[in-house]
Symmetry: C2
Subunit: 448 residues, 2 copies
C-alpha cells in the first residue's frame, strides 16, 4: 500500500499543512538550488548536454534554461537545469542519507510551473515539499543497502520525487499518481561509477526529466502498476536487499524529511567536508602563527569510512574529479584556506604546488568517527604540529549555514557568472517565492 499511501498523502498536502520551519527550509532549499542551477550552467557537463540535446529540440517554449536567456520545452529545461544544479556539487544533502533532495524535484517542478503558468508560490511550495518528502522517505527506506551496492541515490529516488511534485501540480488523481510513481520507479538512474565524471550531474537532470515525463505519461493515460514501490518485483525489492517502506511512509507529515536538509559550504562531495573544515582551520592557525603552508611535510586525517569509499582518488586530473579526491581537498584547503569553486577547477587540480602537497596526505578510516566529524593534523618542516578535531562540520545539521550565509553563498556563486546585480535580483526573486502570484515570474525577474 506504500504507493497508494504516498500518492494520497501527496495530493492532499496543502500549503496550510506546512509548519513555519518547513516553509523556511523549503525556501532556503529552493534558493540554494537556484544558485547552483544558474551558476552550474557554465560547467562542462551542462554545456556538453546542451550541445547534445539542441539538434533534437526547437528552442522555443516557456521553460527557462537557467543561466541563459533560452526558453525551451519543459522536459528539456528540466534536463539541463537538473544537470547544472548538480554540476558544482554545491547543492543540498539530507542529514541521514546522501540524497541531494532539491535537484531532481526543483528542476522538474520549475520547468512545469513555467510551462503551465499561473502557479502561485504557495501551491509551488506544497508541491516541492511533497516531492522532497516522497523521494526522501523511499530513500531512507532502502538506505544504506541500496546506496552501498553502488546506486547514486539522489537520482534513483529523484525520479519519484519529481513525478510526485509534477503530478501534484498537474492535478493527477490518486490512481494516476500511483501510476506516475510506478512509471518513474522502473527507471533507475545513476551509479557511483559515474562519480568524478560529467555523468554524475547528468543523473540528476535525467532523473528530473524522467519524473516529469512519468507524471505527464500517467496523465495522458499510459497505464502502469498501482503498486510500483512495494510490489514483489517492483522498485524496493529490485533495487535493494532491504526495505522499510511501510514504516517510512507512515511517518509522512509527522517527520518532515525536508527539515533534515543541509546545505553545502564547499562545492565537492559532502563526505569530505568535516576534513576540509578542519584543514581550513589549520590553514588559519598557520597564518596566525606565521607558518608557511608550503612547508608542510605531512597531512593526516582520521575519518568516517565513507570518506575513502567515495573520495579515494590520489591523482585527479580534472576539477570535477578533484571534487571526489580527499587528497586534492586537503591540499587546497591547507594552501588557500578556502574551498570555493575556484579550488575545484582543472587549473587548481593541475597546479604543481597543489599536486606536491596532495601527495603528502594520508587518510585513515575509523568506524568510531561520525560522518560529519574529523581528526586532522599536519606537520611542518620545522617540526611544528597542528591538529584539529571537527565535531560537526560546517554545513552539517548541527552546524548549519544560516540564511545569511546561504545568501552570501548564492551571491558569490551566481555573481561569478552573471554579475552581482543580477545575482542579487535573482536571490530576491527565489527567496521570496512564497509571495509569488505566478512562479513563472521569478525567472523573468532576473532575466531583465
Amino acid at each position: 500500500m506504500a504507493t497508494k499511501a504516498l500518492a494520497t498523502w501527496a495530493l492532499a498536502l496543502q500549503f496550510s499543512n506546512l509548519t513555519a520551519p518547513v516553509i523556511e527550509i523549503a525556501v532556503n532549499s529552493i534558493s540554494n538550488w537556484a544558485g547552483c542551477a544558474i551558476a552550474g550552467y557554465e560547467q562542462p557537463a551542462s554545456v556538453h548536454a546542451m550541445d547534445a540535446i539542441l539538434p533534437f529540440v526547437v528552442p522555443q517554449g516557456n521553460s527557462t534554461i537557467l543561466g541563459t536567456d533560452l526558453s525551451v520545452d519543459a522536459q528539456t529545461a528540466a534536463f539541463i537545469n537538473g544537470i547544472a544544479s548538480h554540476a558544482d556539487d554545491y547543492d543540498d544533502t539530507h542529514r541521514d542519507n546522501p540524497i541531494h533532495p532539491s535537484g531532481p524535484v526543483m528542476s522538474a517542478l520549475l520547468a512545469v510551473a513555467e510551462w503551465k503558468g499561473s502557479i502561485n508560490g504557495e501551491e509551488f511550495l506544497a508541491a516541492f515539499v511533497a516531492g522532497v518528502e516522497a523521494e526522501c522517505k523511499i530513500g531512507v527506506a532502502v538506505f544504506p543497502e541500496h546506496y552501498n551496492v553502488g546506486w547514486h541515490i539522489t537520482s534513483t529516488v529523484g525520479t519519484v520525487g519529481a513525478a510526485v511534485a509534477v503530478g501534484k501540480i498537474l492535478d493527477l488523481d490518486v490512481a494516476q499518481l500511483q501510476q506516475a510513481i510506478s512509471i518513474a520507479s522502473v527507471q533507475v538512474i545513476g551509479m557511483h561509477e559515474s562519480f568524478g565524471t560529467e555523468t554524475k550531474p547528468f543523473h540528476v537532470g535525467r532523473a528530473a526529466q524522467t519524473g516529469l515525463m512519468s507524471a505527464v505519461l500517467a496523465k495522458a493515460g499510459l497505464t502502469g502498476s498501482l503498486e510500483g514501490l512495494e510490489a514483489e518485483r517492483g522498485w524496493s525489492h529490485v533495487v535493494s536487499t532491504r526495505e522499510n517502506l511501510t514504516a517510512e511512509i507512515d511517518t509522512l507529515g509527522s517527520v518532515w524529511e525536508i527539515s533534515l536538509n543541509t546545505f553545502k559550504p564547499f562545492p565537492c562531495d559532502r563526505i569530505m567536508h568535516a576534513a576540509i573544515d578542519g584543514w581550513i582551520q589549520i590553514h588559519d592557525q598557520a597564518v596566525q602563527k606565521q607558518l608557511d603552508v608550503t612547508k608542510i611535510t605531512n597531512v593526516t586525517a582520521r575519518c568516517h569510512p565513507r570518506v575513502l569509499f567515495l573520495t579515494d582518488d590520489p591523482e585527479p586530473t580534472t576539477g570535477l574529479a578533484g571534487k571526489f579526491s580527499v587528497y586534492h581537498a586537503a591540499a587546497v584547503s591547507l594552501l588557500f584556506g578556502q574551498a570555493t569553486p575556484t579550488q575545484f577547477t582543472d587549473e587548481a587540480v593541475q597546479n604543481s604546488t597543489v599536486v606536491a602537497l596532495r601527495e603528502k596526505v594520508e587518510v585513515t578510516s575509523d568506524d568510531a568517527v561520525e560522518e560529519h566529524e574529523s581528526f586532522v593534523a599536519v606537520e611542518f618542516e620545522d617540526g611544528t604540529k597542528l591538529e584539529v578535531h571537527v565535531e560537526h562540520a560546517l554545513g552539517s545539521y548541527e552546524n548549519p549555514l544560516t540564511t545569511e550565509q546561504l545568501k552570501e553563498k548564492f551571491l558569490d556563486q551566481v555573481g561569478r557568472v552573471i554579475g552581482k546585480d543580477r545575482a542579487t535580483k535573482a536571490y530576491e526573486s527565489f527567496s521570496n517565492i512564497g509571495n509569488s502570484t505566478d512562479v513563472a515570474d521569478l525567472v523573468k525577474g532576473y532575466k531583465d
Copy 2:
C-alpha cells in the same frame, strides 16, 4: 576491460565480417521489428505516449513515427517506435534469455539513420548486429539472476545495445563509445511489475531513446566512466548478484547471439507459446472429431516453472493483461484455434465464453519440462480426453518460423492497420534493406 573490449569490437565490425546466416536472420529481425512497430502504433501504449510527448515536441524532423505520416526529431521517433514495436508482444526473443533484441536497437538506429541520411543498408546491418550482440552478450552475462530479481532484461540491456549501434553509426571513437556504453548502463529501465500494463512497452521505447542519447551525449563530450560495465560499483555488479562479462565478451564474433534469435508466432508472452501451440493442436483435433469446444469441462497444462512466474493472472480485464495470462491464452486457443492480435483485445478478454473457459484451466509447474515444451490436456462433457505433448513450440529455435511464415505474419499484422497493398510495399522495403543505398528511403517507400 569488458567495456573497452566491447567498444573496440563493435567499432571494428564490418558488413564483410557477417556470415550469410547472420545476415539472413538480421534481415528477418529487422522486418519482423518493422511489422511490430508499424502495427503497434495503434496500441493504447503508443497512442498515450504520443499524447504525452507532443506538447514537448515540434513535429518536424527527419525521423518517421512508423504507422503514421509524422516525422519528428530522432529521439522522439526512437521513443515512440520502440513502444509500438513491443506493444503487441509479437516481437523476437533470444533463445536462451527473454531478451527481445530488435526493439531497443532498431528503434534507435532507424531514427538516427533517417536523421543523418546517406547510411546504406550494409553499414546499417553492421551497426544493427553490433547493437544486438552488445545487449545480448551483457544480458547473457547476468542471466538469470538479474532477470529473476525483477528486471525487464530487454530494456535494461537495450539501452546499451542502442548506444552501441548508434555510436557506431555516429562514428564515435573507442573512448567515446566506452563512455556512451557507461552512460547508457547507469540508466536501468524496466521491471516485471509493469508487465500487463502499458509501461512494459514503454520500457522499450525509453531504452531506445536512452541509448540513442547516451551515444549523442558521449559524442558531444559529456564524460563518463571508461569501465561502466565491469567497475566495482558499475552496471554488472549493481544490477546482478552474478556476472560473467569477461567470458561472454570474449565470444564476440565467434558466437553470434543474433543467430539465436527467434520470432513469435503469437502476440503474447513467449513463455506460454508451447502451451498455446498444444491447445491450438487440440482445437484442431476437436474440430476434426466434431467435438464442441464450448463443452470442455477442464483444461490442464504442465509447464516450465517460468510460465506461472510470469503469466499467473487468472482474471485479466484488458487485452494487454491477457497477453500475460496463461488462462486467457488457453481459452482463446481452444475456442478459436488461433492466437492472433484479435484474441488479445479487451473485447476478447471480456468475452463471456472466454471467461467461462479460462476458469476451468489449471496449470502446474514442472522443473523437468523445458521452456519451449508443454504437456496440455482437456476433457469434454462426454468424457472424451485429448492431450498433446509439444516438444518444441512453434517459433522456438528448434521449430522456427520460416521466412515465408514471417512474411505472412508481417502482411497479416501490418495489413490490418494500413491495408494489404501498403503492407506488401513495406515488407518489400524492409526485407531488402541489405541492398538499400540510403536506409532513410525504406520508410519513404511505404509512405507513398
